[in-house]
């Protein structure tokens, strides 16, 4: 008898180091890469740091609001700020992005008020923003469904002859879904301008990466006929550099690509989850040393790009954002009962009209009784 099941592969190396593009080490040392590099101004560095800090604050406030009973649920992005801000800032205004339900950092980059995200988790809406205005599709909860949609949208970009590209977000768990693999095939055979951005945060709720794959995820691209790159997902500079390059490649007709952002889900899957049941605290501690924000903070200090006044101003901005969320979420109006009938269809539908009339009559009965 042996403990090892024959189907179990050796787990992939936890660090990913040596296999990924990295431009900023966990210690804040700036590296250069022969293929993927960045020319950033001092303001650019400061702006990226601001994004990371504010996005983490949004996440922390939302988690707290869930604990206070203001949200039914929250899916934390803690630890994935760099992957999302790096990718989000690589998008042009005319590009389109398709998120999962955890892309709060991308939503931030697309100009979606984070309060809108809270409405979704509070239960006041199932959507919340105009996808066409923000060029940011609605959150997708069923895993992987957004990938074929992103390819379809990209086919529309091709039909329009537009110099735009599409980025679709998904995770290591989603990489097992049929829809994700189908979308790789479609993108490949139509040479669609779409970048597949996989945040490998190592965990699909309780299931570790080795339950989804026996090879590094970025290598799957080879089999579908397009390039795959692994990037240090906790390095906002590397993520920005690689996503910028791949999006430009797509805009210019170079076709799809897969980016695996190697990162870690520092928190629970959602506020309903208990990760102590399935993973070691020591793993989480190890990943804390690779924190996406601290490495950029070190870099900014070392390069003397920031001073105390910068941090004071940023702290104040974060606090104001937190107040906006705390006050705003409690002020979010509950939708009217009748609103559930409003948009079941775009055009009138006899059954919806009949159901609404019946429900209105039922409610009116109570009003009469009360008289």
């Amino acid at each position: 008898m042996t403990d090892a099941s024959p189907t179990q592969a050796a787990p992939p190396p936890i660090t990913g180091e040596g296999t990924f593009v990295q431009l900023l080490t966990p210690e804040g040392e700036r590296l250069h890469h022969p293929e993927y590099d960045l020319e950033l101004t001092d303001d650019d560095y400061r702006a990226l740091f601001r994004d990371l800090v504010l996005v983490r604050r949004i996440d922390a406030e939302a988690t707290a609001l869930q604990r206070q009973g203001e949200l039914g649920l929250w899916a934390s992005l803690l630890g994935q700020e760099a992957a999302q801000v790096g990718a989000g800032r690589a998008l042009r205004a005319t590009d389109m992005a398709f998120p999962t339900y955890r892309e709060h950092g991308v939503a931030w980059c697309r100009g979606v008020d984070p309060l809108t995200l809270l409405g979704l988790f509070r239960g006041t809406t199932n959507g919340g923003w105009r996808p066409d205005e923000h060029r940011f599709a609605l959150y997708t909860i069923v895993i992987g469904d957004q990938c074929p949609q992103a390819v379809g949208y990209a086919m529309g970009v091709q039909l329009d002859g537009a110099e735009e590209a599409v980025m679709v977000f998904f995770g290591d768990g989603a990489s097992s879904q049929g829809d994700v693999n189908e979308s790789f095939i479609w993108a490949s055979v139509f040479n669609a301008p779409v970048v597949f951005f996989c945040q490998n945060n190592q965990w699909a709720i309780s299931e570790p990466l080795e339950r989804q794959t026996r090879i590094p995820l970025y290598q799957r691209a080879n089999g579908f006929g397009f390039p795959g790159v692994r990037v240090d997902g906790n390095d906002v500079l590397a993520t920005l550099a690689v996503t910028q390059a791949m999006m430009q490649r797509a805009r210019e007709g170079g076709g799809p690509s897969l980016i695996e952002a190697y990162t870690y889900r520092m928190g629970a899957h959602t506020t309903s989850d208990d990760p102590t049941r399935y993973r070691l605290g020591s793993d989480v501690e190890a990943w804390k040393l690779r924190d996406p924000i601290e490495r950029l903070r070190s870099f900014l200090y070392k390069q003397q790009l920031v001073d105390a006044a910068y941090f004071t101003a940023l702290d104040e901005e974060a606090e104001a954002l937190a107040v906006h969320l705390r006050d705003g979420v409690r002020a979010l109006p509950d939708p009217s009962t009748g609103s559930m009938f409003d948009h079941a269809y775009a055009e009138p539908h006899a059954q919806v009209d009949a159901d609404r009339a019946d429900f209105d009559a039922y409610l009116a009965g109570f009003a009469e009784e009360a008289r």
Partner: protein, 327 residues
Amino acid sequence: MTDTVTLGGAINRGLRRSLEQDPKTVLLGEDIGKLGGVFRVTDGLQKDFGEHRVVDTPLAESSIVGAAVGLSLRGYRPVVEVQFDGFVYVAFDQIVTQLAKMHARSGGAVRMPVTLRLPYGGGIGAVEHHSESPEAYFAHTAGLRVVTPSNPVDGYWMIQQAIACDDPVIFLEPKRRYWDKALLDETGSAPAGLFEARVVRPGRDATLVAYGPMVRTCLEAAAAAETDGVMLEVIDLRSLSPLDLDVVTASVERTGRCVVVHEAPVFLGMGAELAARVSERCFYRLEAPVLRVGGFHTPYPPSKLEKHYLPDLDRVLDAVDRSLAHG
């Protein structure tokens, strides 16, 4: 402009006209291009409108629908074909989870003007998964509309109306009627709204409610009954979501008897909904319980047995007899 055309040919002409009139209309499906579809319903369209508007897709039904959702977000009006009824379940998630709900999810900001063409139903001696009637699954899903033409004239107009609709429409094509012929006048406008039921044969003794492939069966049954002096009214529902109940109840109010006929299994089929609605609306006028004729609660059988599974003239008339036996 009037000539004789099959149902398949009429749908082809309707598709052609939609492609001509709206440059945002694009067709996606397996084998719909060079081959013209396994039933030739898209014959010649790729040649005339190009590979970018009539797209032969990879063999992946879920992505056919998923891509249509994405194209809709981009402002296109996709018409997708899923080759056979039994293959649509592969795409069920994208249809039910995404296509049907996107408009509501967006609070009305996004429209999904997708038409999903689906050859359905039995009677062609096919292998398994090529003869099913999945309409109830889709009619049960809010956000989808479900329609089915029973004849070439409806096929021509209804496909254009479905494409013009800003909601997703499941367009069920009764495959065994693809070769039925009728005179078609392509001028003018559609003779009826997409979601209107029609009395296709007036009668006084009982109402037969049918749609798609069973309309012809019911008309034949009504013709046979007439020789016995029984005058059956036949209603072609045409739309399964929404249901045009006013036409049905107006008829049953007159006849007092109702038999619903479909190929799909009776258990929780469209007939269950119709029987309930008719009972609610016509309770005091009914002379007999609403009866249903349809498939059994079994998987669709091997084709050598399908003549026993599918309702035919005799089974329809048997139900009529049972209805007339009341009161």
